[in-house]
Amino acid sequence: MADGENDLILDVKNLEVKFYHDQGVVSAVNGVDFNIGEGQSIGFVGESACGKTVTASTVLRILPPSGDIINGTINFRDTSGQIKDLAQYDSDSSELRKIRGNDIAMIFQEPMTAFSPVHTLYNQISEAILLHQDLPQKEVRARVINLLDQVGIPEPEERVDDYSFEFSGGMRQRAMIAMALACEPRILIADEPTTALDVTIQAQVLKLIKDMQQDYGLSLHLITHDLGVIAHMVDYVYIMYLGRIVEKGPIQEVFLDPKHPYTRDLLGSIPSIKGVEGKIASIQGSVPDAYHMPPGCSFHPRCRDVVGDKCSSAVPQSVEIEPEHYTSCYKYTDRGVKENVKHVR
């Protein structure tokens, strides 16, 4: 998708993540490939439990203890041009600690729970700077105040010593962005950054993320369930359903001419603010529970376009329909991949 392999900062291939619970094994991510180029914005969209957050947490290696990487590579190119496979390290290794918060930073969904209520904003934002950079206290403080100013927090000199509960939801999310930017990372992962916010505040915060992306030359990895938000925030989009990418492509092509039945129905099921003629199309049924993944194409029990028996026996292979626009559906290919067989790239 980017011009050449050399522009890629992050190149994830064939990622498989499983969770081991008492009730059974959950295949949260099944053979996901994605990459991010320098300064590019990509987005993951899907309904709850489709694996979009797990995919991002795996990159940072912050999975809960029950989760395990079964397969795949997470190639990250550092500032010196050296490529490191993050999947190979221990999640508490010093190599990963150098990358987390420093090269790759993350913004979380709940600004209320993501901050510690017993530390001031200064304590929390300076933590990353003190950890990764050798700066005198005075400069760190000036830097934190400057960051808060950049993200639009009024009177940063005074507010820097306040606690997170003294801020409103929108201001807290701004502070979170300041914290993520503290070490000038190269990739910013934003996991549903505005889901907990009101629409007018959501617009403010997303505009801020876009501005910061340009100012810092960041690559953005956005995760959301809101198709309207993703349409205006990213260049390239991945549509996920039950741990698999069912369609990916440049945002305009995927949204204006969706190929996979799931993408099409998902776009068709949201009422538009411009008004809808007649009824909106809903998708029948609901997302199956994670312990009982349907065989074959995981969307086939809800699909209106089932092609034949093969839909329920093997996973359709991803095919390029237009340049850089891929989908995996038997409407476009005859080739399937049997379950538990590694993806062929």
């Binding site: 309904e47 709850s48 409103s168 929108g170 201001m171 009101d198 629409v199 007018t200 505040i201 959501q202 617009a203 403010q204 997303l206 505009k207 876009k210 369930h225 809101d226 198709l227 309207g228 938000v229 349409a231 205006h232 945002i251 305009q252 949204f255 204006l256 129905d265 998902l266 776009l267 099921s269 949201i270 009422p271 538009s272 603010i273 411009k274 008004g275 809808v276 009824k279 909106i280 199309a281 809903s282 998708i283 029948q284 609901s286 997302v287 529970d289 809800r302």
Partner: protein, 344 residues
Amino acid sequence: MSDKELLKVNKLKKYFPQKEGFLRRVTGYVKAVDGVSFSVEEGRTMGLVGESGCGKTTTARVILRAWEPTSGDILFRSNGQVYNMANLEKEELKKVRQDIQMIFQDPYSSLNGRMPVLDIVAEPLQAYGWKRSEYEDRVKELLDVVGLDPSYIKRYPHAFSGGQRQRIGIARALALNPSLVVADEPVSALDVSVQAQVLNLLDDLQEELGVTYLFIAHDLSVIRYICDKVAVMYLGNLVEVAPKDELFTNPLHPYTESLISAVPDTDPREEWFTNIIEGEITEMTEDSDEKAGCPFAPRCSYSTDKCFTAEIELQEWNSDGDQKHSTACIRISELAEKGLTGVK
């Protein structure tokens, strides 16, 4: 109250006292609902939209008398007779309240996990004296109406998905054949594909049963889809009331304009970050009883000095029957001439 109207709310207020110190002295009031007036026509859907903390849920709860109103009238028509819900006594209130039911936002916390579906849906029936032998068939019928398999009555809520749980909540709300259903953010906890199912179900039920909805939501796209008339709320006040298409294409209040422009459309070709309002919703606490200025003035890009002091009231701009359009803005004539930006 005209014959077409089922519910008419007049100057409704709900103030929550703020107490401080050891003696819990009242030091001020949070004016959650501060003089709201609107009416809902029979068989139609009225939408109440606004950001969090604007008082939309409080309005709903006060209408149901789940919370006591501070002042104002709640006129409701039940069995051909008009009651003022605001001052009904216990016995009569219980009788009238059969006709008003509520659907809640979170289908996970609004269903008791220790009760089977039969008991959950039958609870309102039990409250009005139905016997088990009578209500079992009614519950099965209700499950069928909302699109669930009637054989599920023995199951517990954990066996259902979010969308199915919300259907159970809807079945419970319909159990007593209410004329008015207050739906408080009924789809905001659901995934988009399931949200569409529930919205279509609510729409179908209105067609079949003729039930009236007071639909509360923060999502403007959902409001536009399901409602006939929309009231926009800001800090305890209504700032604009209009038929939905009129409101979205020709908004008359600056707050409505900025709300509409803040919603991103799924068409990536469209400009979005063009009209973002600054600031955040302010605190509602006030010590004085006087109401001064427009609550939206501090964030409004059109505000003048007068906006901060003038008395603001909801006024009819277009009083033409079905197209009645009211707004609470003192600069309305200038702004209407200029034309605010709605949905193209």
